[in-house]
């Protein structure tokens, strides 16, 4: 059994308790998509693309007063240690819904009635925290597509490992730790749009973790805004 946090509060990958893994985000990385973004967050490598507003198919799903928001979270077969079968797992179906509901509050869907907006997230390599990385990338892709939004959406997970509240769990911490608490929010409006938790927490644990998550979202937001300002620069997105 690995010692997940050592005596000097250093984690297995050398980070401090509240330190995030390195994050790189770039927008405009795909040619065909209306908007796109690529994020590397720890060992996560995730591509998000946005198509739309476009014609809504099938027609009977069209909404008279706003755009229909569609979202798919998908992992490539080679993105995990074992091979993932190509067809969507139940986990991917749930995450597609959760990510859609995390992004929907930010999008001015009512400006595009009778259309569809599609968000596709492809995990090329997965690590702990892939859902919050996906939300952060997808929100950047929406902005890159010029879809009007109330605020950007960013996410960050916090957890409990070896009895301590720590930020941004990696794969090993996620598996061997006690609690995972992914959070997404609209940072300027201070509104929570995704909240899940797994694992036992006291009232105090939760309050500490939740506060840390919101703070870290703020940090991720600064990175995200920076990436959008830089826009697309013609270097390879995975250097």
């Amino acid at each position: 059994m690995t010692e997940l946090i050592n005596a000097r509060n250093i984690r297995i990958d050398g980070r401090k308790l509240d330190e995030l893994r390195p994050i790189k985000l770039k927008v405009g990385v795909l040619n065909n998509a209306d908007g796109s973004a690529y994020i590397e967050w720890g060992r996560n490598k995730i591509m998000a693309a946005v198509y739309g507003p476009k014609e809504c198919h099938p027609k009977h799903k069209m909404l008279a007063d706003r755009a229909l928001l569609k979202c798919r979270y998908h992992m490539t077969p080679f993105s995990v240690d074992d091979r993932k079968p190509p067809q969507p797992s139940r986990r991917e179906v749930e995450l597609s819904k959760i990510i859609r509901e995390a992004l929907a509050p930010a999008i001015l869907l009512e400006e595009f009635p009778r259309t569809a907006i599609e968000i596709y997230v492809e995990v090329l390599q997965s690590d702990g925290g892939s859902r919050v990385a996906s939300i952060t990338a997808a929100s950047a892709a929406l902005a890159d597509a010029g879809i009007p939004m109330r605020d950007l959406v960013v996410g960050c997970a916090v957890g409990k490992v070896a009895g301590k509240i720590v930020a941004d769990l990696n794969d090993t911490e996620d598996k061997e730790g006690d609690v995972d608490l992914p959070v997404a929010c609209m940072p300027n409006l201070n509104l929570v749009t995704l909240l899940q938790s797994d694992g036992a927490m006291s009232k105090e644990d939760f309050e500490e973790a939740f506060k840390m998550a919101l703070e870290k979202c703020r940090y991720v937001y600064d990175l995200q805004r920076q990436a959008l300002l830089e826009g697309y620069t013609p270097q390879k997105e995975d250097e």
Binding site: C71, Q196, S197, F206
Partner: protein, 277 residues
């Protein structure tokens, strides 16, 4: 691919206004206050062919759960543990908005949230469910059949699943000289805590517990929180295309924690009474 499906009644603008005005006055359409839940009835053991079963009615919502305890093979990464699977089916008898077919994303979310409440609370000690580590373990199937839908499937399903598990009985097997031998005695599952989920809806700035179907049709967001017997939070799930303020989250946690205690007492009593028969 996930997309917002309309799977509930249409609520017109006047009705919506009426609901909001009611919430402002802490009086809901059915007369409840925000933090009141509907009448809960729990029948233990209606399906004798299952190892455990329960029929839960929460207001007009009705959910049946059957538990089967069979023999299976462990997952490679947990060779010394049993396997637990939650599978949900919102039956077409339950609502005019349900069609027969494979589970849609709402049903998959329902199964997975109920599953996590059970799993993350460590309700069932999975390590005690190995027969021959690495080769043969008990496979616990928790099958959910939603019979009638009037909102808050999360909680009704959670209560039925937990009751069915807590009241399940099965015959253990052992392996002797490569042959599986079944014991005579009926034993319980190794259950150590009773996880209880409590779901709140949100309309405008108002949060309220145990939403009905009509309330769900106008509701912007949902928050389901599950607590174990030590009152620890063990699972959370936000749903819906809306949001919560951080303060709402923190406040709702405490409302739910208190309510979970109440409901846990009812589940325990139902299981205890059934055990006496």
């Amino acid at each position: 691919m996930s997309a917002a499906e309309r799977k509930h009644e249409f609520v017109d603008v006047l009705r919506r206004q009426q609901i909001e005005e009611g919430l402002a006055a802490d009086r809901r359409l059915d007369g409840r206050k925000a933090n009141e839940t509907r009448e809960l009835s729990i029948e233990v053991g209606p399906v004798v062919k299952a190892n455990g079963s329960a029929l839960v009615r929460l207001g007009n919502t009705a959910v049946m759960v059957g538990v089967k305890i069979l023999q299976g093979t462990p997952f490679p990464d947990t060779p010394d543990q049993g396997v637990l699977t939650v599978n949900a089916d919102v039956l077409p008898i339950s609502s005019p908005y349900e069609e027969p077919g494979p589970p849609d994303e709402d049903t998959i979310e329902l199964a997975r949230v109920v599953d996590r409440g059970i799993r993350e609370s460590h309700m069932v000690d999975m390590k005690e469910l190995a027969v021959e580590p690495g080769k043969k373990v008990y496979a616990v199937f928790v099958d959910v059949a939603v019979l009638d839908v009037d909102g808050n499937l999360f909680d009704a399903t959670s209560y039925a699943a937990v009751t069915a598990l807590a009241s399940a009985r099965f015959k253990k097997v052992s392996v002797k000289d490569g042959e599986v031998v079944q014991m005579e005695e009926m034993v319980k599952l190794p259950v150590s805590t009773i996880p209880v989920s409590v779901t709140a809806g949100k309309v405008g700035e108002f949060l309220f517990l145990d939403p009905t179907g009509t309330e769900e049709a106008v509701m912007e967001a949902r928050m389901t929180t599950t607590f174990d017997s030590e009152d620890n939070l063990c699972a959370t799930q936000k749903g819906g295309e809306g949001f919560f303020t951080p303060e709402e989250v923190l406040r709702q946690m405490e409302v739910a924690r208190a309510k979970a205690k109440e409901i846990r007492a009812k589940i325990k009593e139902a299981v205890k009474n059934a055990g006496k028969e």
